[in-house]
């Protein structure tokens, strides 16, 4: 009882102090994310970091930003419960949610029903924004703060065109069976032939797969020049088995787990030579804000942020900016302000596609906006190799890779 009393007293005291320091009610941002997953675990800390920075400079119009964190255990059902609690009990003004498309798709109607602004820092499925196009008035509260799968496929093809040796003619698409890869694979099927790579097979594997030997065997038998990947839920196991079985075909594409700095240790270095698309990377100054963010994050938490950490950090700034421009936290005014976002964050210049587009509230990509990077793991480091103006190194290939270009 004593401890409860002292807690109450302490919180009263804090309330008194903060009411003296802050002009009005705090702005509360809920963060629903995957504390135990490598990609999701950076979302909450990065948001916290952004909030502290904003608060240190006086908050938003004198209002303090508070981050309320919910661990969803990678589950859609838990995320929905967290969202309901965030809005009805914790009275949040906006939510930053998840890197998993299935989770965001489950939350999307709730953002509409509870009229609460929601942005995802890491999910990719195009369906998130396609839903907004179909039912704008109801679903306009959702914003897609990361690239859509179709954009990702396009960026991978752009990089492949510049990076892969000219004599490469054939590719096998290898992706995990999940919501985000359906549009990704469709994008690959469309853009790979355009850059001269014939798709000889398309393998969608179960995310539960543990033994990839049969899959690699099948791919090897087709003798493609390159494997174009779309993996996020799996990562360590295919990468390690690729190396231990010395599959002589390069892996190129999207491998979300490879974006994380701990992936080298997770795979005991088997990731050497793997190419992966990202919007940011260690040491790559995409914008003047990128490296200071990475440095601050590393100083505070002792590790590097995952890809969703960069976007989550930007999201807090964008929400703060939108609230400032909207003159408060009225949800509809916040949506209008968010739609007008033109903000240079850590991953590039951020602006959303407008109402009427096929993917409203998706990020604008391409020159002048977000262009993406292609990095390669080289000797324990993530080295950016594309685009040229941001490249820190050139491509190199593990010894067991047999490049067609070299043998011809």
């Amino acid at each position: 009882m004593i401890s409860l009393k002292s807690i109450l007293l302490a919180s009263c005291a804090t309330a008194l102090v903060s009411s003296a320091a802050w002009a009005a009610d705090p702005i509360r941002i809920g963060v629903i994310s995957e504390a135990q997953a490598v990609a999701g675990s950076s979302i909450a800390p990065a948001a916290q970091l952004a909030a502290e920075e904003i608060n240190a400079k006086g908050g938003v119009d004198g209002r303090k930003i508070e981050i309320v964190v919910y661990d969803n255990h990678s589950s859609s059902a838990e995320s929905v419960r967290a969202f309901q609690r965030a809005v009805s009990e914790d009275k949040v003004n906006a939510v930053i949610a998840s890197y998993i498309s299935e989770v965001v798709l489950a939350l999307e109607p709730w953002a509409g029903r509870l009229k609460t602004l929601m942005i995802t820092p890491g999910a990719a499925s195009d369906v998130i924004t396609q839903n907004i196009a179909k039912n704008y008035d109801q679903l306009k509260y959702t914003f897609h703060g990361y690239l859509t799968s179709t954009s990702l496929a396009g960026l991978v093809c752009d990089a492949a065109k510049d990076l892969l040796p000219y004599k490469m003619k054939t590719a096998v698409i290898m992706s995990e069976d999940a919501a985000w890869t359906t549009p990704l694979d469709a994008g690959y099927e469309k853009c790979l032939p355009e850059i001269g790579l014939k798709v000889v097979d398309h393998i969608r594997m179960s995310p539960d797969t543990t033994d990839f030997t049969p899959i690699f065997n099948k791919i090897e038998a087709l003798k493609p020049d390159v494997m174009i990947t779309g993996i996020s839920h799996v990562g360590t196991q295919p990468t390690v088995q690729w190396k231990s079985q010395q599959v002589p075909i390069p892996m190129f594409g999207i491998s979300s787990q490879a974006t994380n700095s701990t992936f080298w240790k997770d795979t005991n270095g088997a990731v050497e030579g793997v190419f992966y698309n990202a919007v940011s990377g260690p040491g790559v100054a995409v914008t003047p804000k990128t490296l200071p963010f990475v440095e601050a994050y590393q100083k505070k938490f002792g590790n590097f942020p995952s890809y969703a950490g960069y976007t989550s950090y930007d999201d807090v700034y964008m929400i703060a900016d939108a609230i400032h421009r909207a003159g408060g936290t009225d949800p509809d005014k916040m949506v209008d302000a968010m739609e007008a976002t033109d903000y240079v964050g850590t991953i590039g210049r951020i602006a959303f596609k407008p109402k009427g587009d096929a993917n409203p509230h998706a990020l604008r990509t391409g020159k002048g906006y977000i262009t993406g990077l292609m990095l390669q793991w080289q000797s324990g480091k993530q080295v950016n190799v594309w685009p040229k103006d941001l490249a820190a190194g050139t491509t190199s290939w593990p010894s067991f890779i047999k490049l067609k270009a070299a043998s011809n």
């Binding site: 990678s74 594997m205 049969p214 065997n217 360590t236 231990s244 079985q245 997770d266 005991n268």
Partner: protein
């Protein structure tokens, strides 16, 4: 080529299944405990070996030893925290103890799983292989470590056979699995037999976990499927029959590998589960079960 591929891969994975299931069935045979924290103990050992090697940089051999030690500690923790208090309880009715232990080990396994996910994230980890490189046999390029895995599994199973059939302590364990009351009448303390069995179990589960971590990699998500696969192998072979488990491990291993290569990796586990259902109908005691 495909034939040899299936043969080699199937043999290696089956050896691993056999080793994993042996400890599980031994515990059941001797003390009637169905240990549903089995997968968590295997994963715990593998993650400990990974963490020691990659976080502390102790090298593959010391890492593996630390992993085995972790398996040992986790097995004893399971016994002393989740099993023994229920076995000795005067409050729980004797007829209900089995289901209490089942539930307790299941929950204990979830506690270990969540602790691993919390401390090391739920990303898969791979244990540093002891043998590097690949070798080509019958035109099949296979990691040397895969052969190493199969050899270690069979050495461990061979040692277990020797222990149970040729040593005094092992014979007492065997006797306890046949007739516990008879063993106590001969003046052998049953609780010390249990300790021996849990020690052997910890060793087997630890080695199996580390080898799995080297061969395929493990994550906290592997806990459920590993327990389930050991459970179905043991049920298929006949609860408590070690030789039945070994044969069942090979049946399941080859069925899975064959399916993965000949049909699709996505359907890998389905035929083995169907077989389990069929065996349950036609021969509920399992292929080689005694009870």
């Amino acid at each position: 080529m495909l034939f040899w591929q299936i043969l080699i891969d199937g043999f290696a994975i089956s050896a691993l299944y056999a080793l994993g299931a042996t400890g599980f069935t031994l515990i059941f045979g001797v003390s009637g405990v169905l240990n549903l924290s089995h997968g968590a103990i295997m994963v715990g050992a593998a993650v400990a070996a990974w963490a020691a090697a990659s976080e502390l940089g102790v090298g593959p051999y010391t890492g593996a030893l630390i992993g085995i030690l972790a398996g040992f500690i986790l097995a004893f923790a399971t016994y002393f925290i989740a099993v023994r208090p229920i076995q000795r309880s005067k409050v729980i009715a004797e007829s209900e103890k089995e289901i209490f232990i089942l539930t307790a080990t299941l929950l204990w396994g979830i506690i270990i799983q969540e602790a691993i996910a919390y401390l090391f994230t739920n990303n898969a980890k791979t244990v540093l292989p002891i043998v590097e490189g690949v070798t080509t046999v019958f035109g099949v390029r296979t990691p040397k470590n895969e052969y190493f895995t199969a050899v270690i599994c069979w050495v461990a199973i061979g040692l277990l056979w020797f222990l149970v059939n040729r040593t005094r302590r092992g014979k007492a364990v065997m006797a306890a699995s046949m007739n516990p009351r008879g063993v106590t009448l001969l003046g052998i303390e049953l609780s010390s037999i249990y300790l021996t069995v849990w020690a052997i179990y910890g060793l087997l589960a630890g080695v199996a976990g580390i080898l799995l971590g080297m061969f395929l990699g493990v994550s906290s998500y592997s806990v459920g499927p590993l327990t389930a696969s050991a459970f179905s192998i043991v049920v298929l072979g006949g609860l408590g029959s070690v030789s039945g488990s070994l044969i069942a491990a090979y049946v399941v291993g080859f069925l899975e590998t064959g399916t993965a290569y000949l049909i699709s990796p996505a359907y890998r586990t389905i035929p083995a589960l169907l077989l389990l259902v069929v065996v349950m109908y036609l021969r509920p005691q399992g292929l080689f079960g005694r009870r």
